[in-house]
Symmetry: D3
Subunit: 238 residues, 6 copies
Amino acid sequence: MRPSGRSLDQMRDVTIETNVTKHAEGSCMIKVGDTHVLCTATLEERVPPFVKGSGLGWVTAEYGMLPRSTTSRMRREATAGKQGGRTVEIQRLIGRSLRAGVDRVALGERQITIDCDVIQADGGTRCAAITGGWVALKLAVNKLMKTGAVITDPLIDPVAAVSCGIYAGQSVLDLDYPEDSEAGVDGNFIMTGSKKLIEVQMSAEGQVFSRAQMNELMDLAEKGVSELVALQKAATSA
Amino acid sequence: MRPSGRSLDQMRDVTIETNVTKHAEGSCMIKVGDTHVLCTATLEERVPPFVKGSGLGWVTAEYGMLPRSTTSRMRREATAGKQGGRTVEIQRLIGRSLRAGVDRVALGERQITIDCDVIQADGGTRCAAITGGWVALKLAVNKLMKTGAVITDPLIDPVAAVSCGIYAGQSVLDLDYPEDSEAGVDGNFIMTGSKKLIEVQMSAEGQVFSRAQMNELMDLAEKGVSELVALQKAATSA
Amino acid sequence: MRPSGRSLDQMRDVTIETNVTKHAEGSCMIKVGDTHVLCTATLEERVPPFVKGSGLGWVTAEYGMLPRSTTSRMRREATAGKQGGRTVEIQRLIGRSLRAGVDRVALGERQITIDCDVIQADGGTRCAAITGGWVALKLAVNKLMKTGAVITDPLIDPVAAVSCGIYAGQSVLDLDYPEDSEAGVDGNFIMTGSKKLIEVQMSAEGQVFSRAQMNELMDLAEKGVSELVALQKAATSA
Amino acid sequence: MRPSGRSLDQMRDVTIETNVTKHAEGSCMIKVGDTHVLCTATLEERVPPFVKGSGLGWVTAEYGMLPRSTTSRMRREATAGKQGGRTVEIQRLIGRSLRAGVDRVALGERQITIDCDVIQADGGTRCAAITGGWVALKLAVNKLMKTGAVITDPLIDPVAAVSCGIYAGQSVLDLDYPEDSEAGVDGNFIMTGSKKLIEVQMSAEGQVFSRAQMNELMDLAEKGVSELVALQKAATSA
Amino acid sequence: MRPSGRSLDQMRDVTIETNVTKHAEGSCMIKVGDTHVLCTATLEERVPPFVKGSGLGWVTAEYGMLPRSTTSRMRREATAGKQGGRTVEIQRLIGRSLRAGVDRVALGERQITIDCDVIQADGGTRCAAITGGWVALKLAVNKLMKTGAVITDPLIDPVAAVSCGIYAGQSVLDLDYPEDSEAGVDGNFIMTGSKKLIEVQMSAEGQVFSRAQMNELMDLAEKGVSELVALQKAATSA
Amino acid sequence: MRPSGRSLDQMRDVTIETNVTKHAEGSCMIKVGDTHVLCTATLEERVPPFVKGSGLGWVTAEYGMLPRSTTSRMRREATAGKQGGRTVEIQRLIGRSLRAGVDRVALGERQITIDCDVIQADGGTRCAAITGGWVALKLAVNKLMKTGAVITDPLIDPVAAVSCGIYAGQSVLDLDYPEDSEAGVDGNFIMTGSKKLIEVQMSAEGQVFSRAQMNELMDLAEKGVSELVALQKAATSA
C-alpha cells in the first residue's frame, strides 16, 4: 500500500557514515533512504554574546539544501539574499532539539555549530539532520574528552527524530517524499534514547485529526526513534 | 501557586471587541489578560500565483509586534530589514491553522489576509492571534455571504488556540509571560470547535517530558479551546 | 463645502487618551478624527554613539503604519525588507521636531525613543504623531522628574503640528484624507506653544502657490496648534 | 561677517556648463561656489506602471554623492546596500520640484530621469541639483521638440532652488558648508521663474524662529532664485 | 620540495565519480586530491530573458562552499544575505568557461545550470568545478541526444581547468592549499581538449613576474589540462 | 579598419588632469578617449581589522559608474541594494593591482582608499581606473612624504593597465566600446613601469585563442603600458 512497499511501521534503510570530511571536528553522512544529509560539527572556543561569561556551552545549527537536491532545482538561498522561512524554522528546531540532550555546564563555555546540508532530498530531511547532527556532535565531544578539555560527558541522552503521518487514511512511520506530499497529517517527533519527548509537532495538512490518531503516531515514532538511537550508538562507538 | 493566582486549569480573562477599525473587512481587538492583539481581515479579489486558476480561495496571515509592546523595546523589524525567524514561524503557523477551518472551494478564488499586530504582549501572543484572527476572518466572510458573493459558508469549524505548559512542575493552562519565561515545557494547541486537532507543538525548554505529561497538557488545552470557541461565537453572532 | 462639512478654519475632533499600554514609560492614543496613532515613549539609560560622553540627552522617533490602517492594505515594511522613503522622511521629521522643544542638557545623557504607530489613517498622520508623541514624551519625562533622575524640566515649550492646504481653491485647516488627496497645496506646520516655528513644509501638489496664500496657511496653522497645545496640557496635567 | 566674506544677500559664484557628457540627452555641470553637481537627463519612451496608459509624462530624479565629495570620505551607498534616509528625501524633493514646472500632458507618455551626482560638496547640494537638473531637463526637452516628438513646450515655468538660513543671528542667502553646519535655522526654497512657490522647507536646527524671520528668508530666496533663473536661461538658450 | 612531495609538474590524484545524485540530469563528484566538488547539471526548457527568442541555448553556473568545507568554518552566504565577491567572480568564470565549449545553436533554446558545491576544500576549487562541471554538462547533454531533443552534439571541445603558480621560486602544477596560500604568483588556466585557450588569469600575490615565468606556467598548464581531459572522456564515455 | 581609424597598435588620446577635487588627498580625472574616470585617494590613519597591529599599510579601491555614464542608463547600484558582480570583480582587481606596486612596510600602518568613479564610459574603464588610480595614490603619498609622515617612498614601481583584444581577426591595442562589444578575445594587462607583470586576464568572448595570439596581445600591451607610465610620470612630477 505504501509507494515504497514498506509496511506501516517500517523505516527506510538508514546508514550513518562517520568522519567524511577532513576539516570538521565531527562529521557524518546520514542516508535515510534517498535522503542524504551531510552533518558537520565545528568547535569554537567562543560563545555568542548572550552566553558569554555564563560558564555554559552553546550548541547551534544551520541547515541548507543544495539547489539540485530536489526534484526540480531550487533557487540558491545565497542568491535570493536570505534564508527562507522554512529554512529558518528547521535550523532553529535542530539547534533546540540537540541542546535538549546536552548538559551545558559540563560542556563549558564553548560553542559547537552543527551544519546540516542536504545533498539529496526525499522527505524527512529535518529529522535526518537531527539524527545525523547528534552523531557529528557526539564525535566532536569525544575529541574534547579525549584531550581532557571536557571531563564529564555533556551528552546526557542521545537525540533522534523521525516523521510520522497519516497517509491514505493510515498511520505510517518515516514518510518519504511521495507520502509526505500526499499526507493529510504530518508530524515530527524528536525524542531521547530514554523515550523522553523533546519536541512534538503535528500539523493538519488538509485533514484535521483526533487524539486517537495522535496516539497512533506517537507509538510509531517511539519505535522509529529506538531504531535510530541504536544506529547512532553503533556509529559513534567504533 | 501561579504568579497570577489563577488555578491550574484557569484561563486569563478574555475579551473580543469587534469592528475596531473602519477600513478592514473584518477586525477585532482580542485581549487575553494583558496580551492585546489587533486582528484585521483584508479581502482581495485576487489570489497568489500558486493558486491562480484553481478555483480555490486562499487565507494567509502576517504577524508583527509593535516595538514597545514588550517589557523592553524591541527593534522594529522594518528597520532591521527583515522579519525575524520567530515572526516568520508564527505567521506561517497562523495562516496554516486558519486554513484548516476553511472550505477553500466554497470561499472561491479570492484571498483573505489576516494581519495580527501585537499592541501589548504578556505571553501567548500567537494563540491570541489565531483565536482573534478567526473572528476577523468570520466577520469578513459574513460580509461576503451577505452580498451573495459567497453562497455556502466556507468556515466549517471554528479555530482557536491556547498554550499550556509545565510550570513549577505542574501542568497549567494559558501561560502568561512570567510563567512562559520559566516554563520547562511549552506547548501550543490549535483545535477546532469540534475538538479536532489542527496543530500540536510541544517543546522542551530545559526539561524533557513524558507521554503522561503530554496527555495532561492536551486535556487542559481542550478545556481552554472550548471556552475560547464560545467567546468567538458570541462575538461574531451579534 | 468641505467633504466633512467643517468650516474652513475648523479642526476635526481631537482626543488624547494617556497611559494606554502597560510597558511604555509614557504612552497615548491620539485620535484626530478618524486618524488614530498610538504613541509610546521608551526611556533608555544609554545614548547613540554620536552623543556619547557629551552629557546631552537624545530624543528620536520611529513611525509605522499597520498594514490595514489604510483604505486598501499596504505591504508590511518588515516584509518589504526596508522602510519606504515616506516612512523615513516622516520619522526623521518627528524626531527633529520633538527635539526642538527639549533642553538636552537638562535631560541628561539618556535616550527617549518615541514610537508612533498608525492604527487607522485618515490624513494628517505625521502631524498627529508629533502632537501625540509630545504627550508620550511629557509623560515619560514626568516620571524621570518624580524619581529625581532629572531635576530641571527639559521640556521647555510644547510641540504640536497641524496640516493646512489649499482645497478647492480655499485655504483650509487640518486636511482629512479626502481633502489631502485632492489638495493643490499641502503644508505641515510644526510650532511651539509660544507660536515659535520649528518646521514649515509646503509643497505644490499640482498647483504652485503665492506668498499671500502661504500667509493664509500660516494663520490657520497658528489657530490649530493653539488648540492642540491646550489639549496636550489637559492630557498631561491630570 | 560671513566666513566667505560675502554680503548677507550675496550668492556664491554660479556657473552652468552644458552638454558635458556624450551619452545623456541633456546634461550640465553646475558649480555653486565649491559645490559641483553633475546633472544628466535620460529620456525613455516608457513610463512607470502607475502612469501607464494615462497619456501623461513623468519626470523623476535620483541623487548621489561620490564617496570623497565630502571633507571626510563617506561610505558608498551601493556598498552599504541601500540609499540613506537623507538621499531618499533629497531625490524625492528634486523629482517633485521639477515636475511642478512641467506640463505632463504636453510631454506625452514618456519618462525623463534626472540624475544628480555630487562631485564636490560645500553645502547646498540639493538646491544646486534642482537648479542644474532643470537645465538638463530643458536640454533634453529641446531635443524632443527639435525632432517634433513633442509639439508644445511642456516646460511652463523654470524651476530653481536656493537655501537661506539664520547664521550668527543674521538672515543670509545661499549657505555654504561652514555656514550650514553652524546655522540655527536652515531653509530650502524652490520657486519658479515667475516667483511662484513650489516647495518651502524651513527647519529649526537648534533655534526656533518667528514669522518675521521666516519672511526675511523668503525675501532673500526670491532674490537668489531670480539670479539662478537668469543663469539657467543663458545656459539653455545658446 | 613541495609540501605534498609531488614533482613540479605532477597533478594530484584526480577521480571523477558520475551520476551521484538521483534528481539531476547530470552529476559528478570530482576529487582533485582533498578538494571535493559536487557538480550537478539542471536542464530547463526555458532561457533567461536576454536569450529569449534567439534560438540559442544558455549554460550558466553557480558556486558555493559548504560552511565547513574549509579549515575553519566560513559564514554561510545565505545567512550573510549575499554571495561574496569571490563567489560571484568564480561562478561567472565557470559559466563563461563552459560556454566557450558549447555550440549554442546546436543546444537550442534551453538552459543548463551547473551547480558546483564544494564539499571539502584544499585549493583549486574553481578549477575542479570547471573540470567537473563539464562532466555534468556532458552527461545532461547525452540525455538530450538520446531522446532526440538535440540532434547535433553541442559540446564541441571539452573544457578543463588547472591552476599553476610560482611556489618557493619554482613553477609548479596544480597548487594545493598549502602551496596556494604561500604562492607568489597564482594562475588559472582554462583550455579545451585541443589546447585552445579560453581564459588565462595570472595574479601577482606579493611578487611580480616576467613573461618567461608566464610561459613556464603555460607549459605546465597544457600538461595538466591534457590529463584532465583524458579523465573527463573516460568518465563520460562509460 | 578600426572603427576609430586608429592603427592596430595605437592607443586613444590620453590625458590626466590632477588635483580636480578639493577634499581628496590625491585626485585626477583620467580621460582615455571618451572614457572618463574620476580617481580620488583618501588617506586614513586606521587600517582594516585584518591588518591591525601588523605595521603594514593597506591600499584598497572602490569602483562605480554613474547611471548615465553609459549609452543607455544603468540602474544605480545604491538603488538596486548592492554592487553587481562586475563591479565587485573590478574593484577587487584595482585594489590588488595597485598594492602590487606598494611597499606596505614603507607606507606604515595607514590606509589609502582609491575611489574610481566612471563619469563617461567608452570601453576600458577598469584599465583607466587602475592607471588613474595610481596617479591619485602617488599624489596622496607625495603629501605624506612632504610632511615627513612617511620617509621612504612606498611606491616602488608605477602600475598601469591597458586592454588588448582580437577584433575582426586582428590583435589590437586599447579597445574602445565599439571594438570591445565585438571582440572575440578580450584581455586586461596590468604591468609595472619596469615591464613586470602584475595581472593578466584573457577571455574568450565567442572565440577561443592560441598561444601565438596570446603573445601578440602581450606585445601590444607592453607598448601601451610604456606610454601610460610616461604620462603618469609627467602628471605627478609637476
